[in-house]
């Protein structure tokens, strides 16, 4: 399937989902669904750098939070001058901010071996969090309130609007991931993951490709984070920099499978839905425990994730 066709199919599925949710008409569905969609974007963003290039980012929460706080910042600026910015524009700004952060991090850590890169991302997370905690304009450690508009033209309920925006972002990120995967860029990314020296010797400009990956991945994180203040209404560093984002960003692609765009999506859909259910039925601590155990279990027992399990299952089926 070529990219325009794939985009159309995906957009049709998204539209059908939205209409179905509207028909059911339960707002809780939109609230829970928003979180699941947000995690699909986060998992896909992580996978572009982590799965395709083999560079593990532990600082996903930092990139997400830069999107979150970019919105808080421009919301406050908008309040001061009485020009409220529309959320889609805030998403673009958040994406640019996190993309720039990705570029900066890429330059800073370009020549680091994979493991050092991973540690550097953790350090970056703490540095950003410290700055936000000490920056009173965006609320500092006290946090900041965002007042969502109560009524939205055409759609009516505000959460429906947010859900729709995130749905659009999901379509955008899946199309981006799949397009990268099938282009020569994707092949270049895979050579970086497999062997950087050999990649260079085969003509792959590894440094430039890594920068592209950190920017694209960072921008997607930022765009996923930008609507978040409107979703929860009150942002404080503890929620924006929540380690759960970093853990889920890794766990979801690892559980789904890191080799293709399908894996992070499947992982995010399953794990995030499971988390919603467990949080409601048992507790949020139990939900995190299960996430951690699943991550450990999958990296040990099924390194290729659910997609890999499915592939070997169908391969066996064909043989017998």
């Amino acid at each position: 399937m070529n990219t325009p066709k794939f985009t159309l199919v995906l957009a049709a599925v998204a539209a059908a989902l939205f209409i179905a949710f509207r028909l059911i008409g339960n707002d809780y569905l939109f609230f829970a669904g928003y979180t699941v969609l947000q995690y699909i974007v986060i998992a896909t963003a992580w996978n572009i750098l982590g799965g395709y290039c083999g560079y593990v980012n532990f600082g996903s929460a930092g990139f997400f939070a830069v999107g979150v706080y970019s919105t808080v910042f421009f919301y406050n600026v908008g309040q001061q001058y009485d020009v409220p910015l529309p959320i889609p524009l805030l998403m673009v700004i958040g994406g640019i901010m996190s993309g720039l952060l990705g570029l900066g991090m890429g330059y800073l850590t370009l020549r680091l071996r994979g493991v050092f890169f991973a540690i550097a991302t953790l350090a970056l997370l703490v540095v950003i969090e410290t700055f936000v905690v000490n920056w009173s304009f965006v609320g500092g450690s006290r946090g900041a309130y965002i007042i969502p508009p109560s009524e939205i033209p055409v759609l009516g309920v505000f959460i429906h609007y947010l859900f729709l925006l995130m749905l659009g972002l999901v379509v955008l990120s899946l199309v981006a991931a799949r397009t990268i995967e099938r282009s020569s860029l994707g092949i270049g990314f895979a050579t970086i993951r497999d062997d950087e020296l050999a990649a260079e010797a085969s003509g792959v400009p590894t440094l430039r490709l890594k920068l592209i990956a950190t920017v694209v991945s960072g921008a997607l994180f930022g765009m996923a984070g930008a609507p978040f203040p409107y979703y929860i209404g009150y942002v404080e560093p503890g929620s924006a920099f929540n380690l759960a984002y970093s853990v889920n960003a890794i766990a979801m692609p690892m559980i789904g499978g890191t080799m293709s765009w399908v894996g992070p999506m499947v992982g995010a859909l399953l794990l995030s839905t499971l988390q919603q259910v467990i949080t409601v039925t048992i507790s949020s601590a139990a939900n995190l425990l299960i996430t951690g155990l699943l991550l450990i279990g999958f990296v040990i027992l099924a390194p290729k994730g659910l997609v890999g399990l499915w592939q070997s299952f169908t391969a066996k089926g064909k043989r017998s």
Partner: protein, 259 residues
């Protein structure tokens, strides 16, 4: 050509200029001198053998020429262009290909995909070249057929035998359509007839105009292949000349062949 590469020399002047000129090349690792002011000029079309005991700096020399490592002193000039500081991928695009001593396949890709990488990123990145996907397929199979791996195109590198892995390593370097190919010990562990196959393959490539530097321990292969032989010991060049003269040189016999 970009500014970083320094001034380029007009085409007609290249006639006298060697394809590769290594001048006063030096490289240290901490206190250890891996290469000590090495000079080496390779004219276009030559088949050069490079020998030396383990740790004599052969691989470091290859790494400095191909850009995997950057030299500290001296210079590398290729086709009249200074390469100082140029990253490995740019050297590859200029026509400088190398194979690694220990095969380094892209392990999550198939054999054919491994070959496609230099076709896309080296050949396809050169000015005026555009490969359609069917041309890409054709060239890929062509290269694989050269090393008789055409039946393994869809396999994972880890399903290959040791010999096939070495062939893949060599084929990936060949796929870049280089002007200069550096084969770093591509025959270790191969049987008598396989060594002959590879030597014949390299000579065929040379006849098509590719300059080749072969680094090898197997003297039979070196003698069959080389038009000229260079000996490296402790980071210094101790002999350089016709193979049959070099192996009789008493310094060489003492430092290398004698041990």
């Amino acid at each position: 050509m970009s500014q970083i590469m320094g001034q380029s020399v007009p085409e007609e002047a290249i006639g006298d200029v060697p394809l590769l000129a290594v001048e006063q090349l030096g490289k240290r690792f901490g206190g250890f001198v891996a290469l000590d002011t090495v000079d080496l000029a390779v004219p276009k079309g030559q088949r050069l053998g490079l020998i030396g005991p383990n740790g004599s700096g052969k691989s470091t020399l290859v790494n400095c020429i191909s850009g995997t490592l950057q030299n500290e002193t001296g210079s590398v000039t290729f086709g009249g262009q200074r390469l100082d500081g140029a990253p490995a991928h740019r050297r590859a695009r200029l026509g400088l290909a190398r194979s690694f001593q220990l095969p380094r396949p892209f392990r999550t890709m198939t054999v054919a995909e491994n070959i496609r990488v230099p076709l896309i990123y080296t050949v396809g990145a050169r000015a005026g070249v555009h490969l359609t996907s069917s041309e890409l397929e054709d060239r890929c199979m062509e290269v694989l057929t050269l090393v008789s791996l055409q039946d393994k195109a869809g396999k994972n590198p880890f399903d290959l035998t040791q010999v096939e892995m070495r062939k893949l390593e060599l084929a990936r370097a060949m796929a870049a359509e280089p002007k200069l190919l550096i084969a770093d010990e591509s025959m270790a562990g191969l049987s008598h007839s396989e060594v002959e196959d590879i030597v014949a393959l390299l000579i065929r490539m040379n006849e098509r105009g590719v300059t080749i530097i072969m680094i090898e321990h197997i003297m039979r292969a070196v003698m069959a292949f080389s038009q000229r032989l260079v000996v490296l010991v402790s980071g210094r060049k101790i002999a350089d000349g016709a193979p049959e003269d070099v192996i009789k040189d008493k310094d060489v016999v003492g430092a290398y062949l004698g041990t």
